[in-house]
Assembly symmetry: D2
Homo-oligomer: 337 residues x 4
């Protein structure tokens, strides 16, 4: 339920109402606005009728939250969320570019790539220490050693680090080494993991599953917010379709759809979204033009020798060229990058 | 086969070779370039061996055409094709916007919409006289009467007219009234229709089928070129996926893929590609940013009362706003519109 | 609208009502049942209110037809339709197997294959004279010559012939040579073709399009019935999905769904539905087990040298083995074959 | 690599070779056959060249394993695997039916449903204690309490219990209460979970992900076998497609494809595969007819009041009817049930 208080309702009124909501076993939410306070009540909506809020003198209106994603939707949170990521932010008119290798392979590779990202104006560094791979015999990432390298390179370059977490048991360790968690497409509906991430306050970049509708993605994000972590950034990375010319079909329609339905910022990953390095720059431009808040993009100092995803990784000079080509478009659509 | 002639080969040499190719039952192609002439030979490639071209003194090299689409691919036609459309063109650095109602409903509707399109800077008028509808009980279009109205409005506004043709038997009549044929997604593999359109020289806008891979679209275009009509414009209009938030999933990945593989220009239809008017402008911008040569977009003077596709049709003022928003992006990516 | 007459209503009453329905511009339908007569009225349902049928002494009830497919749905036609096909039938507890080559290639091939089909107990012969092929350079079928061969083999074997029609202009010629039209998946929404087939009374086997929902298939069938031809047989032949192990994904869920929604019989094509000969027999058995009325299956006297679809064509001995394996399952599920 | 030993090679020869393989850092496999022993060597195949096995007097032939799934494929394990499940088995000519509610709700519901399953001839009991739900506000299962109820009902009925595990941290507890783990579609690529399950020897029923190709499923199974657990049962439960008439599209093509490529047994889940109770029986029959080794099917003692998946759960009498209808088909295809 959304409970809009009257303009003259005080903070005490709000707290008293929230206590009554909590006493029913519902979860109260406090959302102060410019002119009036809005409260939320999450849980079985029939219960709340016993409070007779409609006849409360401090209550202007009571209405149900229609969307199944209560906290992620715009009904109780109409304004865009801006998430802090180290020294930068995601959302709020910025176009934030987080770039780096698919997997952390060694110190030299990571440092060289990070330097190239920084030199070209990238805002954050991505790199996987835990890699979910289709084959058990493929390189599975450096694990804790990779996390240590990421932290080291962060300290050297100042680029905030985004890295994937694949199991609830790794959350604490990843939190000590990175500026944001990444949840991969295969784990979008690993609800146990999402719940543990919801206990943290570190930002979570949640990638859309290969067969997930936009609403499935929003429901997955709701798991994180429902546990208390509001710092969620969505990421479109391509869906599974019949087309075989590209690794996935990047669904840019999802960007304006998400903007309509949710206040959370959204990135686009044109690397996984296409699977082909020569398609990354055109799709990065398209993502910027249609309203995305930034990119998650793969760059490698030596793509032909990358241990994973080399075919879709940009060469450093391609990344720099992409950044140069994005800037006039950002100016044209009023984004800062 | 692609036969590259030596720089000093004359037109007579080329013609003599083409006659020998034709005598084998193959189809010869003449493609003069800046520095040297290239010939093509379409048909059973084994036959051509009997000509011993490798040892011909005027021949520099002979190589097979690898792609299954011989005429549509870049191997024998590396440079971008530009197609004339009335007073305008599609391809070659322009961003051409063809707009109008889904269906021609009556003179007033068509004229009012066309005036709005022209006033906002649109380059062509679209409007269906023959409407393939899912239900036999739905409005099927005005037919010949609709064609007459389209011609009348063309004469009044100067906007070249694009209209759908759904049957081989209508091709002549449509040709007398329009500047370009449109082949809808449902007819992309109506090969008889494509073959008849290949006998014409009027441009054909060929829309991608809902379940067609990019290569299926290119093969369908090959049917038209193989009959002799080089004036084909491709059109991405969304594919069928599991996502239900939008009518179709607009596959913008297809734009740079098509640009790699084919010399033909390509439009994007953000109206069918999304099914929702509020998504049209963001996706139009994305289409421009990733390299499309223009748009096919639905505008209606009164969308709530449209006989078809009202939900995805722009209001005239939205179309004008979209055109204003596209211009700075066009400037940023170096396109003329 | 569905208009149920009272038990004592006479034929004259029905005819008088139908005349009044027709006078409103609606299409009347006469559906006599065991105990009472049911009338239908197709068209704008609001118009019919002016007849005040609710207060007509001969009318028991009036209710709207909810499904968008009025004639194809079970609302006005609850009982299963049985379609005659030459000396055999499709529907009504039979399991009818129509088999033969993808394309008619020559007299020997067709005759040898037909003899094998007949010897193994097949009920009908399939074979394409007009082949819609992805490439314009591929074998396009023998055309009229192929039709003549089909008729010749029908006369020799007595097997009723099913053959594809790809253009409205060929309908008359095909009708003279075959026992049933086949409309291929690519033409499922070629509405002009469907309308012309609706003028005939020869059965039409309508294949589901690659991206067509079951309801799209039923709406396409409605085009044929709405023109007056009730002899439509549906055919599930696989849909386009992301799976690449098979050519298409055979959607057997569609069989019980179609049986719920429509009275029309439905075949399964396990050849196109899988694309692999070794999968044809298992999927044929599955089709029988889940309620299909028969098969449309590719057999070739010499698959490795077939001009098209050899990889999915059964060898004659495989077809005979499949027929033997189907019989006990048919007995187990109470079907006659 | 697959290393086929000569008929006269002794166990000592095999062990000596395996030690040499292990010394290279590769994983040796011992596969005794009727006539000769076959060894496997998993890992970087180039390394093994240093052993010069081709010239070893006890070695008949050495060949690479072509499939990416080494242990799951038929190359080194041509014969069908049979997995013990409590008092029953899966594979080897049986058709094993595991049935029960989506979620364990309470003792009465579980016991009543289990009694109905047993009375109708079901072979195992399914029921979820941990439920991965799209919404964080939906019933998430009884957890440990549900496991205790499952064990209690197993002790009362003798039906071996299959229950889902959603997190690596729960594996030990589930192992103490059930006869087999179930891995749900959403966790098919939760590789950490798969690796932990690979350390167990309790059977794992691995469900295909919504967007997973058959080969992706086989690769996921490889994760479990690679850790040492050979008791894996695959399960087809429907894939995500554009069709909306059913919850998922049951891909029965996958059954014969899996049988070609892998020795592991495979179940079909017609409940999730259709989402509609009235489709369960037809698709169960189809699954049996095309070669599946059994069913995983939802039955509830009171579907209209089920806390989850009521729409697709069979009533007890429907389950009994389905079992009766399956038996003659099992007889017809030579399966024991």
């Amino acid at each position: 339920m959304i409970i809009v208080l009257k303009p003259h309702a005080t903070k005490e009124h709000a707290e008293e109402l929230m206590a009554r909501i909590a006493a029913l076993g519902l979860r109260p939410l406090y959302m102060p606005g410019q002119e009036r306070v809005v409260l939320g009540a999450l849980g079985d909506e029939r219960t709340i009728e016993s409070l007779h809020l409609d006849s409360d003198p401090m209550v202007e209106s009571v209405k149900p939250i229609l969307a199944p994603y209560k906290l992620v939707g715009r009904e109780i949170h109409p304004h865009d969320t801006i998430v802090d990521l180290g020294s930068t932010q995601i959302g709020g008119g910025r176009f934030t570019v987080i770039a780096g290798p698919c997997a952390v392979e060694n110190r030299e590779q990571l440092r060289a790539t990070a330097d190239a990202v920084k030199a070209a104006g990238g805002h954050g560094l991505r790199g996987g220490a835990y890699k979910p791979r289709t084959s058990p015999y493929a390189f599975q990432g450096l694990g804790a050693e990779g996390l240590a390298l990421l932290k080291e390179v962060y300290q050297a370059t100042g680029l905030p680090v985004v890295t994937e977490v694949v199991d609830a048991g790794d959350v604490t360790l990843v939190e000590e080494h990175a500026a944001a968690f990444q949840v991969g497409a295969r784990n979008m509906q690993n609800y146990r993991l999402l719940q543990v991430l919801g206990k943290s306050r570190m930002p979570v970049i949640l990638k859309r599953g290969m067969a997930a509708k936009v609403d499935d993605l929003l429901m997955a994000a709701e798991y994180i917010l429902a546990e208390g972590n509001p710092n969620v950034i969505l990421c479109e990375r391509g869906i599974t379709t019949f087309e075989t010319a590209t690794r996935n079909t990047l669904d840019l329609n999802a960007i304006p759809v998400i903007k309509q339905r949710s206040h959370l910022p959204v990135l686009v990953d044109p690397s996984h979204g296409t699977g082909l390095r020569e398609l990354v720059t055109p799709m990065a431009k398209a993502a910027l033009a249609c309203g995305a808040d930034g990119l998650l993009v793969e760059v490698h100092n030596d793509p032909p020798n990358a241990l994973s995803d080399g075919r879709q990784s940009l060469f450093p000079e391609q990344f720099a060229a992409m950044m140069r080509e994005l800037r006039p478009i950002a100016a044209a659509v009023g984004k800062v990058m």
